[in-house]
Symmetry: D3
């Protein structure tokens, strides 16, 4: 592939505390033409059912992303060398209008898809995965999904009929034919539950749910095999809810559930996804007001970097 | 007046860190009958245009309200002795449905009014003042308002047409005939502005705006006179946005503006309102995620106590 | 069993940030009659030898307990369905009078026992386990105990003769015939030590001490077997000191010791206790001033939920 | 006077973040002989009726005291040049034994007095002023007191008879003939009250209470005159409760009351005391867990420095 | 004047939590041509003698600057309408090389001056004012300076000879002929002192020092007159050290001194400078690690906005 | 060996929150004669390339070290009984002069070595290991090193030629013949990288790098074997960078890298080093401004205690 890359400034040249905070210190662009991967913020939290704050996620993630360097020290993937990647800025949301915002995110993702760009989205609450899938998948047929989370997010509705919250996106996405539930795998599900209906729904439609108990029983290598077996080699989206991790690593989130896995486990699992047929990814639910230290965002941007690495691997293969 | 009072437990008997956190350690009741004043939470922030979190306000205010004792040390008003007051709990909101929540708050306030109770509401963002006024005032004709705030909150709309945000409630209330703009006085207005339209609107409809600059020029005694002159002896509502204060006293709020007055000034101004014909009050915009120390809420509950003192004075006169 | 249950409001109906903060959003009752399990706060820290603050524990635990839902997602126990459970409020302590408070907690626990209720106590510092045992066990003969902690808490005295501190409760309980040391197992003991006398005492009286080193050597399944073997099928109390966990999960505590186990491990161990002959439990040493974020309390209430699940299992068997 | 002074290391020589944290970076001594002023910690909070933590006060005050330099920039007093001053360490308290600790503080202060040293004590909660006065005054006849505080601290008892709490020391001191109530002036009293009995007691025994309302009415120069008039030229103790200040300056305290004066006001008032016949001073109620930033302690050590300046002025006159 | 302005996006259109964080949400440019005012970060703290962290200042100031709107609500100056203003990014510093960084800042300011741009610099520690003045003033003859600060910053050297620290810049600037000491006025000087040499130096060279005591004695209107009288109508630089303010408003700084003025006072004073012959300004010593809440930075960016308003007034006159 | 030991005060006698904060509550001495081990602070951070603050490390470590008791509960080593150990205070640094400070640390370590004392140094940033090695090793021939870290710290230079930063010390030490690279083992290396040159350098000179991936693959017992095999029985230094740990345990550091090992693992590894021929140790990169809670320092002092235990074991053997 011919490369026209933008490299972030070298932290050994320009100090990392310096300069405008863009994702990974990449250029901020508004014209998507020619890019392989676009890093996009969706500063949204009006789908949150308990503690808000994820609207501030993209900005804190950008700030902390200065800590990211050029090479993945474990896989030696160098995504900014291999692909053309930039910070596309934020989708323009309306914090007091759910429907308008859903439409804007969908429209934005249509443009991204039409420009041939693979999106790496930073949330925002988990509801944003729905309009992302609407824009990315549209009527091209359902995709598979690797879903890291403490929660299944397949509730039917909240608060007496609200169909669009951060607890419902994947029920909607399945209903709308955006996701093939038999190619969806959820890793890390746990916590107390309102009732058993989510579990039954997931079973009925064929989602592969790996609870945290099963996760530890299987061991990470078996989990990785299972992930690959479920999603196969068709088009696949990756969604990472930061609350998949134990809250000691990611306290800055709205619905923490104790007893999760570690960032290292997450790194190992994400690194295994480089051979999938990926179409994009998101990392959601970082809520800065609940972690002003930035620690949660530091974890978040490191996982975004891992996701970008596997997206770039997929992209290189797709372009080859 | 015959008294059937509920007194909070004495902090010299039951330690203040102890027990269920209700407002002022009063009983939590659900039947309003026979109460003079009800303290009511509206845990809402979906009208916020920038930093969310006020949905957590009522709970933190309840927690910190244990610091409040029985007598006002400056005026020696003893509201819990003079009136029957309880914690009515929270209005049931739907954080993802603005219209449903507006209706619920309005309905709730209708019940409060019909039960002959004076409401002391803890927000929530400032948008809640609109449904409170809708419920309290209904078609009984416009009321006056003493409005402590850094912002005028009379914008027309946000984000390309959204009419209901925490920046617009009083424009709506005037349009709906709930407020008589000539009997509205705003104290502490300041900060950078989007444009001059709010100022012009206020001037056109006759709101008396006391900017912070005028506030310091006049001096607090003149401001108090001005407040009384504007609202007169007709029915009057009081709304206190915690961001009226300098942010050093109340950092836990969504839209801080530097250069405000002090809590002592606020206490002195509120204490002067005991001779007005009050119908209720709110204290809004305490946002716990931006002040986990609880300091902002400590200021908030102290001002709520001052408001309760003047409400009880008004109530006693009304019942006499 | 005939059920007269009080269910907490559903978080999908009433938002979890809303309402008066009781434990698990259960009703607050003062008449214990007919309850299976009572959740009780003991806001006490005057037994603390280093960093205070646990007197604020019950309130913060109540606040964070809104995050708890109805079902245990791992065991599918639904304690609020299976048992009648309520928030009994706090025992009335006197923060400046140790002896008076010890007596009050003892008396309170006598009433609880006489009402046929199983207590789930939220501390407070670890000294409270002594008056709880005094009230619960009285002269019915010594009970066994599963004790999760970093510290053995069997010191003889502190500061030149003080016999009642949070470092001494179980020495006293053994001396008073409340605990059968041969049926006591301690899990997670670690940290630097003042001297070897505690260790020798424990050995002499027959306490089974599983240090953290042995814990990791044995593996969690062997530890669970060992716990069951030590306490057997006789009456057993469970005490969980939050400092049993690694401080990264529970920084809000007075005497953190690095190198502990995880909340997941704690969950797995507690879940195994459902077949024991349980008489009550406590969770102690959550100190909010040292973790204003509430993260420690979130862990604490989740473990309280796990304890309530196994108490309810035991209760159902006892009532059958 | 012949000078044998110990000067703190110059911050322009040894960086202020460096070295063992003693008060004002002075030598830590255990032999009091020959010293004019001893700075002494009393790490105690078992007299606290609400939020604990002042036991950690002396250590945080020592840490922050590195910010203090050699000269008072307003009065150009140079206390470390004019007097021999050292850090005497902490009085050995027993956090679980009130009576033992009261005795130890008293005994310690007897030694200090017998060594001819003027004490500058850092608390600790306000109860410590009682044993300090017991040790300092003993049977030499009652002294006067300048008392900066939000609270009068002349309650009779708490929690059904507890006579020794941080709300009662000065009632006890008056009863014991340590203080002459007619020579006691309290500056900054405010906040909600349990009842009117304190006020009546103060009036009965003749304490001059300057409420915060009167404080602002009189203006600071009149307050200073009033202070001097009340205490006169007889022996006088100074006690500064950090909660005298508005909580925005000193959030790290157990019983904040909004609406206080500023640190600048406190500085001006303290500086005026250099012509009194001072016998010692304390600064109490700094509670580090409620302000981990150290901001409250920074205010505290600056006021301690002001107190040391006036103590040194008094000392120089006494030695002249 | 012909206007080619860049306006920040309207917060009523694009939410303020959204988008890349540039100063005041202005475009980030690297070609200075045609700009009236450039906002420039100097992320530097290697001149700090006590607590570091100001290298993170520009980034946090950018983040918080989203709170700034278009008009000054007190003076109705609209700087982004009246002038062409942009975010120029950060000067490239080397955190481990003082001399290299001094040179780079100087060179950068030469370019700024040569491009005909007025700089509004965000620090960084106060040492940066020296290379700014070197670049701006060069050999065009000494300028006047309005200096808001708690400290005089005219020490000769630190730590046995170090001539370049944040305590020495203006001694150097005077020695180098960049500042005319007789046209320098310092407002708010206070705190304990190492010795009297700074004071004597200032007196000798003719700096007008307004201590905080004199500040409160004179009153703000007299101080404003004095400022104007000292600097006159010749070329003048403005430097604002955030520690000029009382630390309750600006805890996030390295060398807090209690007893300062308020942000409102600072606003009033800055607003009076619009008629001076200004050449640039800086705002320094915001240290994010000591205030992760961002409160200090919120004050900082509001004062930057006030400074930009007066720079734009001066600029308009100069261009007229 | 004849013992003249100084024991820290017993926390069961003198409360741990009490007294002057020295390391482990040991005496602070300035005459090194007769000591086996000296605990020494180097409050330095001017070698930091990103986030500063480690200059405040020694003070916070001293504060938190009160939590350490007399015996190691796992190995029952009692270092303060077996060796003569004291707090030697801080090396006098000049925060604005790198070269001067490097020389001072070197000179200080020469004295320590000449006094026959084994140093346990608390940083400070990692650059301080270079002057420590210069002073300790001098021309006695290269030593081995056990290096716990997330980073290799063998960069050649930063920022266009700066040879002395916290990213370069061990490249310099190898170049200067202080370290034998073939006897250096690094444990826990991970994170994104600037380039591959460090890795190649390490390979070329023969450093044994155990990445975190290899660490988890090998298992801790194999890692311990590998460490012993690499360093052998010749003279060996130990350096522990707190960022070797996962950031959830040590957020207070400048360059956190997710995915590290636990403090328990670190304890087990350090405890295995007691049979090595140790010459000293350091623990570096604790940065208090990024963890004001002190949690990172609590981990730090516990690991310092483990290091002191193995140093004392080595010392006893050397003296035997």
């Amino acid at each position: 592939m011919s490369k026209v890359t933008e490299l972030p400034p070298d932290g050994m040249d320009l100090p990392r505390f310096s300069g405008i905070a863009t994702f990974m210190r990449l250029p901020h662009v508004t014209d998507f033409t020619g890019y392989d991967i676009g890093i996009i913020g969706v500063p949204w939290d009006a789908g949150v059912t308990n503690r808000p704050g994820t609207r501030h996620g993209p900005r804190q993630l950008r700030d902390m992303s200065s800590l990211i360097r050029r090479y993945n020290g474990a896989t030696w993937v160098a995504p900014f060398d291999d692909c053309r990647i930039a910070d596309f800025g934020d989708v323009k949301v309306n914090p007091v209008d759910l429907d308008m915002t859903m439409q804007r995110v969908t429209d934005y993702m249509v443009s991204v898809r039409e420009a041939g760009v693979m999106p790496m989205v930073a949330g925002g609450d988990h509801m944003i995965s729905l309009p992302i899938l609407r824009g990315l998948v549209a009527d091209s047929g359902p995709v598979g999904m690797v879903h890291f989370d403490a929660h299944m997010d397949v509730n039917d509705s909240y608060f007496g009929g609200s169909k669009l919250t951060h607890g419902t996106p994947f029920r909607r996405a399945i209903e709308e034919g955006l996701l093939d539930p038999k190619r969806v795998v959820q890793v890390g599900i746990r916590g107390s539950r309102y009732d058993r209906s989510d579990e039954e729904y997931a079973k009925d439609v064929g989602i592969r749910v790996i609870t945290i108990e099963e996760y530890f029983d299987l061991g990470i290598q078996e989990v990785i095999k299972e992930i690959h077996q479920v999603v196969g080699d068709q088009r696949t989206y990756v969604t990472f809810d930061i609350d998949a991790l134990d809250p000691c690593y990611a306290p800055g989130t709205g619905t923490p559930e104790i007893g999760g896995y570690t960032p290292f486990d997450a790194q190992v699992m994400i690194r295994s996804l480089g051979d999938l047929n990926l179409i994009g990814a998101d990392l959601v639910e970082v809520s800065p007001p609940f972690d002003q230290s930035g620690g949660t965002a530091i974890v978040g941007v490191n996982l975004m970097f891992e996701l970008i690495c596997v997206l770039s691997q997929a992209r290189c293969r797709q372009k080859a």
